[in-house]
């Protein structure tokens, strides 16, 4: 089957739409989670949502809605625990991880379903998405994206510094719960695309990638959303175009593609940070004494290969752990 034929198939088009919206929504919430240093919250909520899916299987209702409900309950619970005792939020998160996963597997068994029916929610099954699922995905994702972008000033302030935000008159508890609920909603949105166990990757990895190269919050948020979309669409297409007979699952492909983006960007970011540190101007206090360097083998200049760092009204050339400042015909030690 050619690529054109593949993309004209209805199930593939539904999958592409679902991937597009998931890729936009998950990193949008993820940015605020990373800003709060709660990168693993998405993972915790994903585990809790497993119980939600199992409840759906047991009661015969749509697992999407039960997952949304249970994940929101879990999110509010995490927020309450975090507010009451902020030092040990990670322990609370861990408890939810295990409770959610164990509860999910147990209830699935009680429902008389096999592990295979849970499997499609754990690792995603984007190609079996129905038309209704696509509509739900679009609706929930649009809700997440508009809130994350529209309330960006407020969410930024609350995630940056809670106490300051409170004295600024913001209802911090409301915004905390809002972020938690948005995270829970995007976990369920991403459930069909990458699956509950890999949800957090789509929320966190694009943010980690974009912040290697960015300096402002706005560009980090925008770039993370772009990278998330790129990864989820790209992963889906790679999986779809895999040679016949090879079983390439879209969920893990999306996550690995996203991680590949990080692996490529990280060295660039590390190099940029290193360069920024080297070129940071020296404090402009005058040197303690006039100390002339020994005989100097070459002239420093723009092409000498030594870092030229600002120092008050001149530049110092960093030379084997010394700072050489041009002074008349010789160099001074600074």
């Amino acid at each position: 089957m050619s690529a054109a034929e593949l993309f004209s198939l209805p199930f593939m088009q539904r999958a592409l739409i679902a991937a597009l919206f998931t890729g936009l929504a998950a990193p949008a919430v993820g940015t605020y989670l990373v800003q709060r240093r709660l990168a693993l919250m998405g993972d915790g909520l994903g585990h809790v949502a497993v119980t939600g899916v199992a409840v759906g299987l047991l009661t015969g209702t749509s697992p999407t809605w039960t997952a949304v409900l249970v994940a929101i309950l879990g999110a509010v619970l995490i927020e309450v625990i975090r507010e009451r005792g902020h030092t040990n939020g990670d322990v609370a998160l861990a408890l939810l991880f295990y409770g959610g996963l164990a509860g999910g597997v147990l209830i699935t068994g009680l429902a008389g379903q096999s592990a295979a029916s849970l499997q499609q929610y754990l690792f995603g099954s984007i190609t079996t998405v129905s038309a209704t699922d696509v509509l739900i995905t679009i609706g929930l994702a649009a809700l997440v994206i508009t809130t994350c972008v529209g309330l960006a000033p407020q969410l930024f302030a609350v995630s940056q510094d809670q106490e300051f935000a409170r004295v600024a008159g913001l209802n911090v508890r409301f915004y905390n719960v809002l972020v938690a609920v948005l995270a829970a909603v995007s976990v369920t949105v991403a459930m069909r695309t990458v699956g509950l166990l890999l949800v957090s990757a789509l929320m966190v990895v694009p943010v980690a990638t974009s912040q290697q190269l960015t300096r402002s919050f706005r560009t980090t948020l925008g770039a993370a959303m772009a990278l998330g979309t790129l990864a989820s669409l790209g992963g889906l297409v790679i999986a779809a175009l895999a040679p016949f007979g090879a079983n390439v699952q879209p969920g893990p492909t999306i996550v690995l593609l996203s991680l590949a983006g990080f692996v490529v960007t990280w060295p660039i970011g590390a190099w940029l940070r290193h360069r920024a540190r080297i070129n940071e101007p020296f404090a402009s206090d005058p040197p303690i004494e006039h100390q002339v360097t020994d005989e100097h083998p070459h002239d420093h200049g723009p092409d000498c290969g030594h870092a030229a760092v600002e120092h008050g009204d001149h530049v110092d050339y960093v030379h084997d752990g010394h700072r050489h400042a041009p002074h008349g015909r010789h160099y001074d030690e600074h």
Binding site: R36, G85, G89, F156, A157, V207, Q211, S216
Partner: protein
């Protein structure tokens, strides 16, 4: 209207009384320094004055309104005690300062011209205008502290609380900070500064309030750093060149996995 009127204020943390019988009245335009050793309750007092810590007893009026009914938060600026201005995601200096303008912005509205002017002015006052596009993580500790002050100034407050803004800040940055506070004082702002060491800020102070063990031990004319710790204030001599003490635990730390510190 009197910016701060606290009568017989008391604060308890996890059931342990911390502040008792504190009376404090700060008039418009005053520059008050809250001094005292670590653990004397000066930070707790500021957190009570900003509404972050509920009063167990007594009454607090801000600009003549009881705290329970106070919602003029744009009149108040707060610089919390922080090691830096960074978070888990990069943010530019301008963005951090702009977040201080939220007190005057309505939901879902773009920044107005007045908003931008106030943010520019705040950056100007602390001398960070040329670093506005840089990430806060690229600034030195002292410069980050100045960015936090600019954030509080962006809301154009009339009453400003600063909690230990000079802790761990080098001398050039302390001077820049003093310069910013002098400018604010000239503009008529009321300033409450918590510090355990005044340094270059000493010249600005109109009035010193010394806390000791949760009570006001002295309230009057400015004191030098040495006098604050003099025996006649009943203070054990803790010379300010000694390494800073560990944070004083107001409530004994008895924790279990789900209950963090209070």
């Amino acid at each position: 209207m009197t910016p701060i009127e606290l009568t017989d204020g008391a604060v308890a943390i996890s059931g342990r009384p911390i502040l008792r019988g504190v009376d404090l009245r700060v008039e418009t335009g005053e520059f008050v320094a809250l001094l005292g050793a670590n653990g004397s309750g000066k930070s707790t007092l500021v957190r009570a004055l900003t509404g972050l810590r509920p009063l167990a007893h007594g009454q607090l009026r801000l600009f003549g309104t009881d705290l329970d009914h106070f919602d003029d938060w744009q009149r108040i600026g707060y610089v919390p005690q922080r090691a830096g201005a960074t978070s888990g995601v990069p943010a530019s200096v301008w963005e951090v300062v702009a977040s201080g303008r939220l007190t005057r912005r309505r939901l879902l509205r773009r920044l107005s011209r007045a908003d931008r002017a106030a943010i520019d002015d705040a950056l100007e006052v602390v001398g960070l205008s040329d670093r506005r596009r840089d990430g806060v993580a690229q600034l030195s500790g002292g410069q980050q502290q100045r960015a936090l002050i600019a954030r509080a100034l962006a809301g154009e407050p009339e009453l400003i609380f600063l909690d230990e803004p000079t802790a761990g800040v080098d001398v050039p940055n302390q001077l820049a900070l003093a310069e910013a506070l002098r400018e604010l004082k000239l503009r008529g702002a009321t300033i409450v500064l918590v510090t355990h060491e005044l340094g270059p800020l000493a010249a600005l102070v109109d009035r010193a309030v010394v806390m000791r063990d949760g009570r006001v031990a002295y309230d009057g004319a400015p004191l030098t750093d040495h006098e604050v710790h003099d025996p006649w204030l009943g203070e054990p001599h803790t010379h300010h060149h000694h390494p800073r003490q560990q944070r004083h635990d107001h409530a004994p730390h008895v924790s279990s996995p789900l209950e963090g510190s209070p």
